[in-house]
């Protein structure tokens, strides 16, 4: 079983390919996407996505807009921003909107894996809590 289901979004195709291969090797389930639109589409198709690794600078819908949309449609999915140096401010803005964390490109692969695992754990924890709350509500009603 994989450590986490990850949607990897970056407009640089070779980068996505290399990262996919490397992260897959480290037991992550990677779904590649190359734009904000594609990312949203893939999220709808693959309900099991836990973490999105999102490039900040992309043509068309950029990272921040995509993040806003993801958080609106899939509030439980955790997003890690991936950025070049020029967009550190944007990444910080992203954190304010609700991103889990941000990493600088090129990132240490192990750091990235650690962050993803952490984010996935948070998401699961989150879901767990929600589940517990629901169960509690049901049992209370029955009682």
């Amino acid at each position: 079983m994989s450590l986490a289901n990850v949607l990897f979004v970056d407009d640089e195709v070779p980068f996505v390919e290399a990262m996919t291969k490397r992260l897959t090797r480290r037991d992550l389930q990677i779904i590649p996407a190359h734009s904000g639109d594609e990312a949203l589409k893939k999220l709808k198709e693959h309900a099991g996505v836990e973490v999105v690794i999102l490039d900040v600078k992309m043509p068309g819908m950029d990272g921040i807009e995509t993040l806003q949309e993801i958080k609106r449609q899939f509030p439980l999915v955790e997003v890690i921003m991936l950025t070049g140096h020029a967009t550190v401010e944007s990444a910080i803005d992203g954190m304010k909107i609700g991103a889990f964390d941000y990493l600088m490109k090129p990132a240490e692969i192990d750091t990235l894996v650690a962050k993803v695992t952490e984010a996935a754990a948070k998401k699961r924890q989150h879901e767990e809590k929600i589940m517990q709350a629901r169960m509690k509500a049901i049992t209370t009603r029955r009682a």
Partner: protein
């Protein structure tokens, strides 16, 4: 050249040597002097010339009138003497006047009436023999047949002779009247006292050098000029100036003119004809005396002009000195400003370029690093284990990763340098920041054998900047200083102070210093003197960009082998900075 000497003495050497400023000074001086002096000279000269003309006219008119009156006096005097003799002739006749007693009585009467005008009286017959005589000399029966006056009186009925010495050997002249008695001609003659007549003529004296005399048609003096003694010899031998000989024939009126004598002395001459044009009354005065007032006013005017000119020249020098020095200062400031503008513009355009390069290079580098990582991942597969070159491949991949990181570092710094927007700003107490950074650097300083000293002024106003940026700047400056002292060790002094609304941090080291040739390049991106791989040459460019963004500036002072001081000026939050209190410095030493 005197102009050069004046400029060298009055102006700072730097200006006096510069061709541009020299010509500026020269033009300014000439313009001021010409514009001021020319109108002054023109107005003064015109006024003076007008005044001189009027004044000379006035003096001439005055002299003309004076001489005219004097001429009338003399003419009257001579006419009266002639009338006296004529009356006597008509009243007494030849026979009675032959009586010497009557003649003597008449002489006494005349002397009484006219004091010393008459010297003697004589009655002369047609042949020229003196028939009767009254007077102080023994002249009875004297023969006058050959005398000039006798010849003249035989032709006219009366005569006033020229002055001559005659038998008595004293200067005198004769007034004679011819009459007829019983078909016989006879003559009554009187001798007029020369001294009295001379005194009458000379009775016109103006100024110090004015005097009058009489000349006859032959140009001989009839009275003694004042400058010579009354002596027959002199009168007889003195030759009058040539001009009088000419003047005789020319005019009946009083004339005024100027002439120079042989010694070059100028005189005013006024001449008037006497005795129906037989004599000429001449009045003579030195021009300098006659026009003394004019000369005095000329001297005063000249002095005022000279003083005025001197004042104008001094003012022109002072004014041009002041103006040229101001212009030189403005030029210098402009020059500095230009340099700064060029430097700022250069750094700004380099910043834009750097930003573009950094963006574009970052993604490819990331891909390269990740691909290398992927190869590394693959090499871990079993099939490659024990392969011949596996170690070499791993080393090579490690090198790619290292160089990728290096690229990452460079792009990061490039972007920091180019960054236009500042990060979140906050009020910062600079002293606290310095303390923190000294703490961070302490370990490195220890290895570099550098002693860090802080001199922090208490009560500095806060500054409103991005903390991380300022940390970056201070760390960079400290690291540079430590690098400069790495070989020999030394002292690093960090001091803070308030200055004109700025908080200033001085980072002073005792390192190798920066050669003057490099001093203006140290803020240029990629300029470094460190070994390849040790420095990117971006540190100070970034610091420059950050501090400029904060509205501050970085200044550098450096002496080779003595050390370098970097001064960072950051605007303080308070508009008014507190007065500097050097005694408030607290000192800390940290090894």
């Amino acid at each position: 050249m005197p102009f050069d000497t004046i400029i060298t003495r009055l102006f700072p050497e730097k200006l006096a040597r510069d061709k541009h400023y020299r010509s500026l000074i020269r033009n300014m001086l000439l313009t001021i002097i010409i514009v001021s002096l020319v109108p002054m000279i023109l107005v003064s000269s015109t006024l003076y010339l007008q005044f001189r003309h009027s004044y000379k006219e006035k003096v001439s008119d005055h002299l003309r009138e004076l001489v005219q009156k004097h001429k009338q006096n003399i003419d009257n005097y001579l006419q009266e003497r002639l009338t006296d003799i004529r009356l006597m002739t008509a009243r007494y006749g030849f026979e009675r006047l032959k009586e010497e007693e009557l003649l003597q009585r008449n002489l006494d009467l005349l002397k009484e009436e006219y004091e010393k005008a008459f010297v003697d009286l004589g009655v002369v017959d047609a042949q020229g023999y003196q028939k009767a005589y009254a007077g102080p000399f023994k002249l009875a029966d004297v023969y006058y047949g050959d005398a000039e006056w006798f010849k003249d009186v035989k032709q006219k009925d009366h005569v006033i002779s020229d002055v001559f010495l005659g038998l008595r050997g004293l200067p005198h002249f004769i007034v004679a009247v011819r009459s007829e008695a019983g078909g016989r001609e006879w003559i009554l003659r009187a001798t007029i006292d020369f001294v009295a007549f001379n005194a009458l003529v000379q009775n016109i004296r103006i100024g110090e050098t004015g005097f009058a005399y009489i000349l006859n048609r032959k140009g001989k003096f009839q009275t003694t000029p004042l400058t010579q003694p009354i002596s027959p010899a002199v009168i007889d031998s003195s030759e009058p100036p040539d001009i009088w000989k000419r003047m005789f024939a020319e005019s009946d009126d009083v004339q005024v003119f100027l002439r120079k004598d042989r010694a070059g002395q100028e005189y005013v001459y006024v001449e008037a004809p006497l005795k129906n044009g037989e004599w000429l009354l001449v009045y003579q005065q030195r021009a300098s005396d006659a026009f003394a007032d004019l000369n005095r006013s000329f001297a005063v005017t000249t002095m005022i002009m000279a003083l005025g000119s001197a004042a104008v020249i001094i003012m022109a020098l002072a004014l041009s000195r002041r103006m040229v020095m101001r212009i030189a200062k403005a030029d210098e400031e402009k020059h500095l400003m230009d340099e700064k503008v060029i430097e700022t513009g250069k750094l700004a355009s380099i910043g834009e370029l750097a930003s573009g390069v950094a963006h574009e290079i970052n993604n490819p580098v990331a891909i390269m690093v990740e691909e290398a990582g992927w190869i590394g991942d693959l090499l871990e597969e079993e099939e490659f284990q024990g392969s011949k070159n596996i170690e070499e491949l791993r080393r090579s991949l490690a090198q790619i990763k290292i160089q990728g990181k290096r690229c990452k570092e460079i792009t990061r710094k490039l972007l920091s340098f180019a960054r236009k927007t500042s990060l979140s700003v906050q009020d910062i107490q600079i002293n606290e920041l310095i303390d923190e950074i000294v703490g961070i650097s302490a370990q490195r300083a220890k290895y570099a054998m550098v002693e860090i000293t802080t001199r922090l002024q208490e009560g500095l106003p806060p500054i409103r900047v991005s903390l991380s940026e300022l940390q970056q700047v201070m760390l960079n400056l400290i690291n540079n200083a430590l690098d400069a002292m790495e070989k020999k060790g030394g002292k690093l002094t960090l001091s803070t102070r308030a200055e004109n609304g700025f908080v200033v941090v001085d980072v002073a080291d005792t390192g190798a210093g920066i050669p003057a040739a490099n001093l203006h390049r140290i803020f240029d991106p990629f300029f470094t003197t460190k070994a390849v791989g040790k420095g990117t040459g971006l540190g100070l460019s970034i610091c420059y960009g950050i501090i400029e963004n904060m509205g501050g500036r970085i200044e550098v002072q450096s002496t080779v082998d003595v050390g370098t001081t970097m001064s960072v000026h950051i605007p303080s939050v308070e508009s008014e900075s507190p007065a500097e209190k050097p005694n408030d410095h607290r000192e800390d030493n940290q090894a």
